[in-house]
Symmetry: C2
Amino acid sequence: MTAPHPFAEIWRGPFLESVHSGHAVICDAKGEIVEAWGDPTVTVLPRSSSKMIQALPLLRSGAAKSHGLGTEQLALACASHEGAPIHVEKVGAWMKDLGLSDDAFRCGAQETRDRGLLEAQIRAGESPCQIHNNCSGKHAGFLTLARHLGAGPEYVDPDHPVQRACLDAFEDVTGETSPGFGIDGCSAPNPAASLHGIARAMARFAAAPEDSAEAQLHQAMRLHPELVAGEGRACTELMRATGGKVALKTGAEGFFIAIWPERKIGIALKAACGTTRAAEAAIAALLVRLGALDANHPATLKRINAPIRNWRGTETGILKPAAGLL
Amino acid sequence: MTAPHPFAEIWRGPFLESVHSGHAVICDAKGEIVEAWGDPTVTVLPRSSSKMIQALPLLRSGAAKSHGLGTEQLALACASHEGAPIHVEKVGAWMKDLGLSDDAFRCGAQETRDRGLLEAQIRAGESPCQIHNNCSGKHAGFLTLARHLGAGPEYVDPDHPVQRACLDAFEDVTGETSPGFGIDGCSAPNPAASLHGIARAMARFAAAPEDSAEAQLHQAMRLHPELVAGEGRACTELMRATGGKVALKTGAEGFFIAIWPERKIGIALKAACGTTRAAEAAIAALLVRLGALDANHPATLKRINAPIRNWRGTETGILKPAAGLL
């Protein structure tokens, strides 16, 4: 295996304090590698970066159409949202349309990451529900598909028709037979592939015809960046900073993908240490490299060449992208 | 530079998902390396792992004695506490003894990491103060020393007598001329040294005579593990798990040190990627290796061979120490 390539450096005063490295692949419409750093053959779990793949059966089955899902719901199906009121309300309305309560979810309760809502819940003595889970939009999509297929309630079971359809879609767009899966934070199976396979899948999304399931999903993400993550978050801010040209999605343990339809390009990257700040710096650097993102946009500067400040607001250091990415 | 050595592996299902590496040194009383992983010569900022060094002038100057500081206050001077009521009350009493208010601190306001107190503050509409900063005990020590020296209020200025005394102590115990400093999260200068130098300093603490400043500090830490960090935290739990034999202290960006007086051994380690879970796994593994910690103690198993659980409590993976550390 090729060693991971440097992704980002953390400097404090005159000292290099920490270093991140990882693997990254840029793919074209044919699924060929345009450029790569580290090892493109590394087996990865794309985690939440595969949500748009997991949403494909929702469209391909006809479930989205027959349930009249709009672009907001498609964006939420691909989201790792922060459980802010905007997300909770829209997923809640979707669940109401399905006639389902919070108990139908299988993602588990997660505290909201929206500070205002968190404080309101603490003041009201309320506990977090499954709808606050960052994956509740994906799970509303799973429930919609399960209803459409007439399948049972245990939709995260790897043998459930919903997950079998997700695996089929995953192997289709990655062009690989998945070597297995891990169980994700939200309890759904997360199939593995090579990093090249994930980048290939993202390039297929980028190159898909206008009315395809793939295109409907990345269009929905680019149309509603605030639904895909939330205010202040990397996916939301960087998608906006590209002017909505590029669809972006983070995944746990330092994953990030990009879909750039205009150029029919897909990117997949993984920080070897699993660190979010490294993955965010690397995706921002690669988007700058490709000309999709302005190096001086505030959203870019928050992820690369970002000042590190202490409790008094003093600038104590800087996060820099490693040489060779930009 | 020797490449960092593997520290920890994150497995999810059958897949190795993330890998951490770093540098570690075990030193004896003569300051010689007993065993090392990665590069012992790497220049590091020990961050909060140097708090017991920064507390040396408080004792050596006679300030601690003339202000009647007890073991609780010495432990707090070395602490990165979680701002729980026990920490806030004891640092508050110390500040009251000094006749100083929260405004005298220069560490900056930081939200408490104690969930109960956080919720109480939200319900009461209270904002975090500087006393909730994890470093407020260290800063109460700085203020005590400044008072003793008749020095001014800007005690985090690198040219202030308090910081000059800290640098002198740092160079004394590391046996090195520091190449410079970074500014820490709490605004105090944090001098750099080689990792070997930090391990040498910790071995000197371990080997220091019973009534020395060094011994008084590690005795205070081992006597009051709950004051050094807080319930559930690595320093507190692992110190207790060693039966109070070993003093332990974490530092930001993946630092950890250990002082084992019985064996006159010091350890310093740094996760190259700056990740806390890697540093905690590595220090626990080395303490097991040396026979200071039971591999099957719950506090050990929380840091190495720790199950990773998702929002529904399902075990989805495991954090394992890398081969060669245990």
